[in-house]
Amino acid sequence: MARAELMDYDKALELFEPVIGLEVHVELNTTTKMFSPAPNPANSAFHGAEPNTLVTPVCLGLPGSLPVVNGAAVRSSISLGLALGCTIAESSRFARKNYFYPDLAKNYQISQYDEPIAYEGSVEVELANGRVFQVPIERAHMEEDAGKLTHVGGSTGRIQGAEYSLVDYNRAGVPLVEIVTKPIFGAEADAPELAKAYVSTIRDIALSLGISEARMERGNLRCDANVSLRPRGTEPLGTRTETKNVNSFRSIERAVRYEIQRQAAILAKGGTITQETRHWHEDTGTTSPGRPKSDADDYRYFPEPDLLPVEPSRELIEELRAVLPEPPAARRRRLKGEWGFTDLEFQDVVNGGLLVEVTLTVAAGATPAAARKWWTGELTRLANAGQTDAASLATPEQVAELAALVGEGVLTDRLARQVLEGVVAGEGSPREIVEARGLAVVSDDGALVAAIDEALASQPDVLAKIRDGKVQAAGAVIGAVMKAMHGKADAARVRELVLERAQG
């Protein structure tokens, strides 16, 4: 694939104003699917099920099967709409979006078109530099997810050249809420970061509502980024592209930045932007063209005749509004104070998209400082090395357990990093890994004393110095003991014992 020409980012910003729009799909974690009582794979209880084991006749579009709306999914959608500051529709209905593709067996997706459940909201998003944006929300609507296709044959595994495809309908019918922003103006050079911070905020909201597992690497949260440029001093919006397949926070930022640079290079040469979907490639950090964007008319939307309108009562809406969690921006301000972090420390957490992880790790028993240290330190380093998000590598419970092991003196920081590598490699919980790998600090004084006595005996000159009061000489013995213990000893305790044994 020929690499697209890119304009220098600062130059692109000088010539053009970027306008972005974001579509975020949130998979709800209800027990069952949107329109069928099949188990929902977006609920962690059913994650990783074998193909086509979570399906009913409705999921397969079998003749005679009829959808029925999941009331819990409607409540989750209303809660999400309220948390986005939206108005909840008095009357909302489902619509058929017609297309032929085997990811849905019915040849249509049940979605919402002209009467979404929620519309006209706003979400406060804060950037690392302290800028606060009100991101305008156009709508949030309910729909069903599609099945998963695996393309087999051909050289790349991509669609072109595939010989056949395998279809798993477990995901078909998973409840989704699609949140669509209005065009976002004024972000300027911060547009890529704003895109990332916005999706991170949506994740915070979904998690604090408890309505989604919200794990990007599992596809619980998916983002399509629309980007267009308009020359400085002009009014009409430029032609936009829609970048899909953006599956981590870091790629959202990179994909938006890439599209700004790519489009700027084309426009500056007098070229035109093709309105199309583009696919993001994490490995190369580039986008490639997909299909030309279909006209909405081509989907031949019409009201879903198999389902009745949803008309949430005022009482239900107020009941759900009353139990809404604190808005993310307010929660951030509160947590920063509670945790006693400096601005810089808190920004590290927020920029890493780790606010929820640190919160949950603290809830699981770790100190805020320890939770921050592991998430923004070693886990972020491992995530960067693996080009993924730290949140995908370990759970808050695992990190809290690791911090506890360090607090109990079972692990030194150095050993804890080894345990963490085991956690990331999926070897089990920190305690299991300590056990399996034999990584615990040797806290048995008997074993330490034996090693110390041996080291002292083999270095009589050092022993003499220590006895003369030259305590710093003990370093050589401590080093030898740590080596004999393969680093699995607490150096402070070894020092104490060395001094004690030297006097004896």
């Binding site: 069928s36 009582p37 084991t53 709306v69 669609i159 798993d168 299909r291 949803v310």
Partner: protein, 100 residues
């Protein structure tokens, strides 16, 4: 009075994945035009005080409890009607075009 063109019929046929000959398109263009005219009669009585109807029964809020049903299929059942499968998934021919 709304007209429907042969191009629109051909486009719709393509969207619906129906192969039509030129003669069929010509024939259907005329027929669909008549159907459109018949349906348009409705607008004559659809005054502003008559809301659009998408469902004949005045019901709303029919919901299901969020409980797993007893009609979950086994993979064998799910695949039993498939022309081809690999034992756990449906096999479909290579697709030109892309996910929506």
């Amino acid at each position: 009075m709304s007209e429907i063109s042969a191009e629109q019929v051909a486009h719709l046929a393509n969207l619906a994945r129906i192969a039509l000959t030129e003669e069929e398109i010509e024939h259907l263009t005329a027929e669909l035009g008549q159907i459109m005219q018949a349906v348009e009669k409705v607008s004559e009585v659809a005054t502003p005080d008559v809301p659009p109807t998408s469902h004949p029964i005045p019901m709303h809020n029919v919901f299901r409890d969020d409980v797993v049903g007893d009609n979950v299929l086994s993979p064998e059942q799910a695949l039993s009607g498939a022309p081809e499968s690999d034992g756990s998934r449906f096999v479909v021919s290579a697709i030109l075009g892309e996910e929506q």
